[in-house]
């Protein structure tokens, strides 16, 4: 955009307002301005470059620490990913040490996928409501409500889960209360605002002729919504769902507070479990840097990092495909 406007300082016929107006010649002002322009461009470029440097630093350092389990401690990556025996402190004579993280990985996947299964449909319903059913009302009441939901800190979600949801499950459904059920309910509420706002943006961006054409053909509002609008906005909706999934997968404290943190693969929604994030949260402070246990936790951190890359990749693919259809 800015390329369209020739810069004053690049203009050879540039002249100042008058001879000696500030005691500076036209040429002096010219050089001064060019210097400031150059300075500003450099400083703002450095700030932007810092974003790249920071990202690379995070990838490098987490990667280096996370790979130590395999390079320094000599653990087989396959065993780390696909075995369930977690005995990082057991000596060799007792069959250890083993750092199979499968139960944490499955725990993270279960809790976040179930959260999305609940939150996704509900979010799409609310997004459609905001954009199509009651736009004025949706804007005035629901928009701020969703912003507040988005602003509530995750520890507060965790705390309400711990003090309200966990006792409720214990008293009315059985088990300890600390469970997969409590975990995914807390997460599904946490990711609601993410999915709703991305989906409603993409619904709002649809050309209004599509809706008008559908209604003019005699389709009811529901038919228009379910057969025209939602399918047309699907790349945005999928993006929202993946962002929600990413947030659920990476959430640490809220989940840790309500899932019971037991190292096992849950067989019922009332069973306690442990996730990658909760394992890191619980043990990172209690293990010695450089020990196998500690290295395995860093590897879990690396796994979280790689999962978030995967989520970005999925979004990029979805958006590109959605763009072609349009």
């Amino acid at each position: 955009m800015s390329k369209n406007f020739p810069l004053a300082i690049e203009n050879k016929e540039y002249s100042s307002s008058g001879p000696g107006s500030l005691g500076l010649t036209a040429k002096g002002i010219h050089i001064h301005k060019r210097y400031i322009e150059y300075f500003g461009r450099t400083v703002s470029f450095l700030a932007a470059a810092l974003v790249i440097a920071l990202t690379l630093a995070i990838i490098f350092f987490i990667g280096q620490k996370g790979l130590a389990t395999f390079t320094v401690s000599g653990v087989n990556a396959w065993n780390f990913l696909f075995q369930t025996q977690w005995m990082p402190d057991r000596p060799m004579e007792q069959g250890g040490p083993l750092v199979g993280s499968l139960s944490f990985i499955i725990g993270s996947l279960l809790v976040s996928l179930m959260a999305v299964a609940v939150s996704g449909p509900l979010s799409v319903i609310v997004a459609v409501f905001m954009v199509e059913i009651a736009p004025g009302w949706g804007q005035r009441v629901l928009q701020p409500a969703i912003e507040i939901l988005a602003g509530i800190p995750s520890v507060v979600y965790g705390y309400v889960g711990l003090s309200l949801l966990v006792p409720f499950i214990r008293n009315y459904m059985g088990g300890e209360g600390f469970s997969l059920l409590a975990g995914f309910i807390v997460l599904s509420i946490m990711i609601l605002p993410t999915i709703i706002s991305v989906s409603s943006d993409s619904l709002r961006a649809l050309p209004s002729q599509w809706k008008e054409a559908s209604l003019a053909l005699g389709a009811t509002r529901w038919q228009t919504i379910s057969m025209v609008l939602v399918p047309a906005a699907r790349s945005g909706i999928i993006t929202g769902v993946v962002l929600g999934l990413a947030r659920a997968f990476g959430e640490a404290l809220a989940v840790q507070m309500v899932i019971g943190n037991t190292r096992q693969i849950p067989y019922s929604i009332l069973d306690p479990l442990m996730t990658l994030t909760s394992a890191i949260t619980m043990d990172m402070g209690n293990t010695i840097m450089g020990s196998l246990w500690n290295n395995a936790l860093w590897s879990m951190g690396l796994l979280l990092l790689m999962m978030s890359f995967m989520f970005i990749l999925i979004i990029k693919l979805v958006v590109r495909r959605g763009g072609m259809i349009r």
Partner: protein, 294 residues
């Protein structure tokens, strides 16, 4: 079911969905505030926490949260604003711009605990600072930076192009145009975005567990020498924030009135976040009125 009754059923479903979200929000806020108001007192807001006895407060935690927010913003606003200016004003459609955007997406979607781990590695261990406010602020800056950059860039882009054209036509350079013309008119949007970001920084906890730490030294609020280890404004002391405190008392505290302290802390946290939210809306509107004289 014919099309008409399907339409009615669907409409009902949409209304129920919206009502459910509002009900969830009302339940959350009502629950937190109802329990919180019974726990909050002047003493609770100012007193330091107890380790084994009942009756502790969260005074230092509240101070730490605000101070950490201040430090984080001190780092992120200048860098984020400049990077936003670069993206909106100077960046073309090249490879480099693509990498900047990809980096921002990566930073935005990183789990905050991963940023916390990075902070532990770099700002806590490598620098040798240990658990300090500064380590926490730098970790939070990594989380907050992409948000501020995006807000700056988007608000700068919404400034009407005629303003820029007029300024450039008068002989101003791009940098002068940015600072004297575009930024002032983008100011309300940037302020609003920054305050919303402040709410998120205020509630962040996972990234702080292993950077700013889970404890606070005994603070002496009459000591304003920034180098003293007991001074509240010393940036190189450990600091537990309110959000971390909620997590810590619930998971490993020995005090008998855990419930009370957690209720009060959660309510304070929510009230501050709500306050930021309202302030952002109000201030954005107010500054806009002042600047545009409408």
């Amino acid at each position: 079911m014919n099309a008409r009754s399907a339409d009615r059923a669907a409409t009902l479903m949409f209304w129920l969905g919206a009502a459910a979200v509002l009900a969830i929000l009302a339940l959350l806020l009502g629950y937190i505030l109802w329990h919180g108001f019974r726990a909050i007192s002047w003493d609770f807001l100012t007193a330091p926490p107890q380790t084994i006895m009942a009756g502790g407060g969260v005074g230092p935690q509240i101070f730490n949260s605000f101070y950490l927010l201040f430090l984080t913003m001190l780092i992120t606003i200048p860098i984020g604003l400049l990077a936003g200016i670069y993206l909106a004003e100077y960046a073309g459609a090249g490879r480099l711009t693509e990498y900047i955007r990809l980096s921002m997406e990566t930073l935005t979607s990183l789990p905050s605990i991963v940023v916390g781990l990075f902070g532990l590695l770099i700002f806590v261990n490598l620098t040798g600072w240990g658990y300090t406010l500064m380590s926490g602020a730098l970790a939070l800056a990594a989380i907050n930076l992409p948000f501020i950059v995006r807000v700056s860039e988007e608000t700068i882009r919404t400034v009407p192009v005629e303003l820029r054209e007029a300024s450039l036509a008068l002989g101003a350079t791009r940098w002068e145009t940015m600072w004297r013309v575009i930024l002032p008119s983008a100011f309300p949007g940037i302020v609003t975005g920054t305050i919303i970001a402040a709410g998120r920084v205020f509630g962040e906890a996972a990234a702080l567990l292993y950077t700013a730490g889970m404890s606070s030294p005994v603070l002496n609020f009459t000591d304003w020498n920034p180098l003293s280890p007991f001074s509240p404004i010393n940036p190189f002391r450990p600091a537990e924030t309110l959000a971390v405190h909620i997590w810590k008392v619930n998971s490993e505290s020995l005090i008998p009135d855990v419930r009370q302290v957690a209720d009060g802390s959660a309510a304070v946290l929510i009230l501050v976040v709500l306050f930021f939210n309202i302030l952002a809306r109000w201030l954005g509107r107010y500054i806009h009125h002042r600047l545009t004289a409408t």
